[in-house]
Amino acid sequence: MTVVEGTQTFDVARIREDFPILGRRLAGDFPLVYLDSANTSQKPVQVIDAIDDHYRQHNANVARAMHQLGAEASAAFELGRDKVAAFIGAPRRDEVVFAKNASEALNLVARVLGDSGRIGQDHEIVITEMEHHSNIVPWQQLSQRTGASLRWFGVTDEGRLDLDGIDELITEQTAVVSVTWVSNMLGTINPLETIIAKAHSVGALVVVDASQAVPQLPVDVAALGADFVAFTGHKMVGPTGIGVLWGRYDLLAELPPFLGGGEMIETVTMAQSTYAPPPARFEAGTPPIAQSVGLGAAVDYLSAIGMDNIAAHEQAITAYALGALQEIDGLRIVGPKEAVDRGGAISFTLGDIHPHDVSQLLDSRGVAVRAGHHCAKPAHQRFGVQSTTRASFYLYTTTAEIDLLVEALHYTKKYFGG
């Protein structure tokens, strides 16, 4: 346990003090054991207070307002963009487009690629069987709109991408490959380097769904070499209502706008309009101003702790949990069973007790996990299960909480006579 907690660089107890909700007591006076961070993360006071202070002291609309409050709000909003750009190693700040969540960011790419005429019926779109619905449905819709065919990587029994057929899958016909960096269900970390190299060798664009990666791993989009990277604020100790699309500037500059409206225009007449350069071109209407301030505070918070430390903690907690869970009779992990190339989401089944019932029993002991398909129905289908129970961790998770999870799982088995 000392590996994980209370080291010089990473003091979980100290970190937990920043998260007011972790002090909550639930029904039956059980303390909250929050193991649902892959669903959404909790927020430190630093983020909550930044939003609060913004509304109390600096609120105004941005870009358009030239008064002092407007200047303060604009500077605060754009500072959020600067911070996010630096956090992910974006070569240019104007490569960071704010969306409402990761789903919108992914849809934005799919829509504008379609609208640009870059994707037609002779083309193929390649995804994987382990994608979140938000990285499946937009491509199905694009395929329906354009006639392009949709293909996908399968998943091996261990929950890894099956790369064997990569040369048949990614071909000269491939226009775009969209793949998750870290699976929110299986926990798998995918070999992006191989996929990106292959895709680029045939001239395909690469979209990376980094919703589960940016919160947990040091990310450098320039080093990664993908064309687009999407992620979401609420999973990285930031607020709801903001997501990010990073895109290579030259690509963004070529693509047509997504939503039309205020702020994304250069000039408007009744008959026609011209559009602003990125990122404004893709940010119609009043942007998520207070949310950018909150997300800026979130990346400051994560950076101060250090993404390397956060990743190491996640790795250690995951290894500990994988070990402890596998000692439970009848518990079957769906996804890689060792903490190698693996994020901190662990999905499992417990005998034939339905995940709803498992999570309900855990909840009655204060242990918050997620039950269901986790927006990854095809991945569940691949493993012949309709739903699973998922525990997921973050920088504030302790090994003591894993022990409580294990205890509650034993209790659950007993309850249902298993």
């Binding site: 639930l26 029904a27 039956g28 339905h354 995940p355 709803h356 019932d357 309900q360 029993l361 909840d363 009655s364 039950a371 269901g372 398909h373 129905k377 569940h380 309709q386 739903s387 309850y415 249902f416």
Partner: protein
């Protein structure tokens, strides 16, 4: 709210019994309508068939994948509805639906709901209300379709 959320009030003995030995499970013939319903949150699914004999619900058969609450509630539905006429069935559905959305403040009528009163506790667990209603909503859908089918065959379902 949290005070009342005792998990034992959810998992009544009656519910666990129905879950372990569901009444009327399986898909049977004949039937006038078959529907497939999904709980989008968790992926639970049910295929449910209704067989009408005139205006009488003479069979409700089903194949379901789901949690204890959804399985047990469909089992209770089978108990309550089969043999009743459509109007009586709809009235029971209404009663059950009202109970589910009553936030734990409604006293269930045992004469109408029989074993169904065991679901009173579900109303305090908003995440589970959809589970308890999955089979019922499927039945409502199926019976509406069956009425159309039989009316178009016979000219008058009554």
């Amino acid at each position: 709210m949290t005070d009342a959320m005792n998990v034992d009030s959810l998992y009544q003995e009656i519910i666990l019994d129905h879950y372990k030995r569901p009444h009327g499970a399986g898909l049977r013939e004949p039937f006038e309508a078959e529907v497939h319903h999904v709980n989008p949150t968790c992926g639970d699914e049910i295929t449910l068939r209704v067989h009408l004999d005139g205006n009488t619900v003479s069979d409700v058969s089903y194949a379901a994948q789901g949690c204890s609450i959804s399985q047990a509630s469909t089992s209770v539905l089978n108990d309550l509805i089969v043999g009743k006429n459509v109007e009586e069935g709809m009235a029971i559905l209404d009663e059950f639906n009202t109970l589910m959305h009553g936030k734990g403040k409604i006293e269930p009528d045992e004469d109408v709901l029989e074993d169904g009163i065991a679901f009173a506790g579900v109303a305090q667990f908003p995440g589970r209300i959809k589970c308890a209603l999955l089979g019922w909503m499927a039945w409502k859908d199926a019976v509406s379709q069956a009425l159309v089918t039989t009316s178009s065959t016979t000219g008058d379902p009554k």
